[in-house]
């Protein structure tokens, strides 16, 4: 923290604030550090060694091998399911939201405020209300054995529409769109070539948060998916965890659940860190109007 030049004196108040901030840095990061260290331990190592330091045997490779082979490689299937589900759902929903948000921001049309009111209102309806009927409708339609059962409902994101509308209002100057119209560009060409480029920072933010939301989702997949071959990682890990807690189960499951938690979480963390600039700007853009 303290740079050597120029020498700077920290007042007591400032030091207290720094100490306060560092304590909370520990609170937020130590559990993750513990998880990463625990993923290098065997079952015996988990019990015999201190949680915040490595055990004598470094077991990460064995844990990974066990993780990818246990129950005929179920974990790999879950990872693949999660990747497909999160990618398709987030790409689809963010594109749909961008189109709708753009329409709300750039056009005046009959039913505009009524429709937007309904969109806003639906943000406040608890997911639970949709969960039971979705389960029944999906099992009636025979989709409950398919990833589509979680992908299709995730395409609707009222909050995404709300955000894209705000972004579009801020990022797209009306004069630019009018100028393009005068030049004879069609409405869809204007969107695809001009408006979408301007919407990109907001779009990436909505896309990323939709991706994370789908990747980390547990409630809906738990309800609507009927067989373990189409589970996402979250539901799979919870399932293994329930097996691990049963006394009859093999103890090997603790290292597997822990290592699986690391592998299932890393992609999202890496994505957030790499796309930092994008989504931090995107968040700022969205909140100016509150």
């Amino acid at each position: 923290m303290i740079r050597s030049n120029p020498p700077r004196r920290y007042s007591t108040g400032k030091l207290l604030i720094l100490a306060f901030l560092f304590v909370f840095l520990g609170y937020f990061l130590l559990p993750l550090l513990w998880l990463f260290i625990a993923s290098t331990k065997s079952n015996a190592g988990l019990f015999n060694s201190f949680g915040f330091w490595f055990a004598k045997d470094f077991n990460l490779a064995t844990n990974l091998k066990d993780l990818f082979t246990y129950q005929n490689g179920a974990f790999i299937v879950w990872m693949k399911n999660t990747a497909i589900y999160a990618s398709v759902a987030s790409l689809g929903s963010s594109l749909i939201s961008a189109l709708a948000g753009y329409a709300f921001s750039q056009y005046r049309f009959a039913g505009r405020s009524f429709l937007f009111g309904i969109v806003l209102g639906s943000v406040f309806v608890p997911t639970t209300v949709f969960a039971v009927p979705l389960y029944l409708l999906i099992s009636k339609s025979g989709l409950s054995g398919s990833l589509l059962a979680v992908i299709l409902p995730a395409l609707v994101s009222p909050f995404g529409v709300y955000l894209m509308r705000i972004y579009a209002e801020q990022a797209i100057p009306e004069e630019l769109i009018d100028a393009a119209r005068i030049d004879g560009a069609g409405e869809f060409r204007i969107f695809a070539t001009i408006a979408f480029r301007l919407l990109l920072p907001g779009y990436v933010t909505v896309l990323l948060f939709a991706f994370v939301g789908a990747w980390n989702n547990y409630f809906l997949p738990l309800l609507v998916l009927s067989k373990s071959a189409i589970y996402p990682v979250t539901v799979g890990l919870a399932y293994w965890n329930s097996l691990a807690a049963q006394q009859s189960a093999v103890q090997i499951l603790y290292p597997l659940v822990i290592t699986g938690s690391v592998v299932g979480t890393l992609p999202v963390m890496v994505l957030f860190l790499f796309l930092q600039r994008f989504w931090q700007n995107g968040l700022a853009l969205g909140s100016i109007k509150g």
């Binding site: 604030i17 901030l21 840095l25 937020f28 990061l29 993750l32 513990w34 998880l35 625990a38 988990l46 201190f50 749909i96 189109l99 709708a100 329409a103 709300f104 750039q106 056009y107 005046r108 505009r112 969109v119 639906s122 608890p126 639970t128 209300v129 949709f130 039971v132 009927p133 389960y135 029944l136 409708l137 409902p153 395409l155 609707v156 529409v161 119209r181 004879g184 409405e187 990747w215 547990y218 409630f219 309800l223 979250t234 890990l237 965890n241 329930s242 807690a245 603790y254 659940v257 938690s261 999202v268 963390m269 957030f272 930092q276 931090q280 968040l283 969205g286 909140s287 100016i288 509150g290």
Partner: protein, 316 residues
């Protein structure tokens, strides 16, 4: 407004002859355009939100009898829900949880946002990202990690207690369970809320602070009188979303149930109750009614918060 300029690309002879026909079809297209942009969303919205909602509403008015099949019972399920102690138990639990967790989380998020905005602390990015990182963790994994932390076997808290020759604390007791889950939610979502408030603070022009400083205002006064009131809309937004999230509490208790099955019953939260009614007892009709009852409670609470804030602002 659809613009009335006619500078459509077109050859001059077109212009004179077919102007009115072309113009009206062009105008019609222009009027149709917003609906075309909206159509994918509206289609998905109707199929996956409106229709299930109507379906559930209809479902909630039926009851399956052991003999005699399914019969229409009108609002009976709602009357039953109103008198159902299991439902109100769950509501009470999530309200206690919310009263405990939301002020702590949003208070911390606001404090961090205020401290990390401006020039007070250098290298703020470390703190911002570090605080935010738990948000990237699935709530299932967050509950698993903290479940191990709370546990007696290889959790670090129990290890430290044993090393100090102390009795390891038991967290997942009937009294301890709500604060234990509240801690998991605070750990996960404080950073996210901080970033939203932080982004709102960034929208305030610096000059406002400068002129207040010239007038001799202290940093604390500036925070209380200028910065917090100006980001009130963002603060209200985070509060509303926290309330909605709290009422739907499910993942964390569902995961912890595995390690503490006796502490939480099948109606610990309304969502857990809905889940066990539907998938444990196959009582889909009644579970739909409970879900709607939860939606009503959510709407009432959100409006109370919105109205209170609005009134306060009017009073100022």
């Amino acid at each position: 407004m659809s613009m009335t300029n006619t500078s459509n690309p077109g050859t001059p002879e077109n212009k004179t002859q077919k102007t009115s026909a072309r113009f009206s079809s062009w105008r019609f297209q222009r009027n149709l355009t917003p609906y075309l942009f909206l159509s994918p969303f509206l289609l998905a919205f109707i199929v996956f939100m409106v229709y299930p909602l109507i379906y559930a509403l209809n479902l909630s008015m039926y009851r399956k009898k052991i003999i005699g099949g399914v019969s229409f019972v009108g609002l009976d399920n709602y009357v039953k829900a109103f008198h159902d102690d299991n439902f109100w138990d769950g509501i009470r639990n999530v309200l206690i949880f919310g009263a405990m967790q939301i002020p702590v989380m949003l208070g911390l998020a606001l404090l961090f946002a205020l401290l990390l905005d401006g020039k007070l602390i250098r290298r703020q990015t470390i703190f911002r990202l570090g605080y935010f990182l738990p948000f990237a963790v699935p709530s299932v994994v967050a509950a698993l990690i903290w479940g191990y932390f709370y546990g007696q076997s290889f959790g670090p808290i129990a290890q430290i207690a044993k090393a100090l020759n102390l009795q390891p604390p038991i967290f997942l007791t009937p009294k301890g369970i709500i604060p234990s889950i509240a801690n998991i939610s605070t750990w996960q979502y404080t950073g996210y809320n901080m970033l939203i408030l932080f982004a709102a603070l960034k929208g305030i022009p610096e000059e406002l602070y400068d002129s207040a400083r010239v007038d001799g205002a202290s940093e604390l006064q500036i925070a209380l009188k200028i910065r917090i009131p100006l980001i009130l809309p963002a603060l209200v937004l985070t509060a509303i979303f926290s309330i909605i999230g709290t009422l739907q509490l499910f993942n964390e208790p569902n995961i912890l149930q595995v390690v503490a099955p006796t502490v939480m019953g099948s109606h610990f939260t309304p969502n857990i109750y809905v889940y066990s009614l539907a998938f444990g007892n196959r009582q889909f009709d009644y579970s739909a009614a409970i879900a709607f009852a939860l939606a009503i409670v959510t709407a009432v609470l959100s409006s109370i918060v919105l109205l209170t804030v609005y009134r306060r602002q009017q009073g100022d």
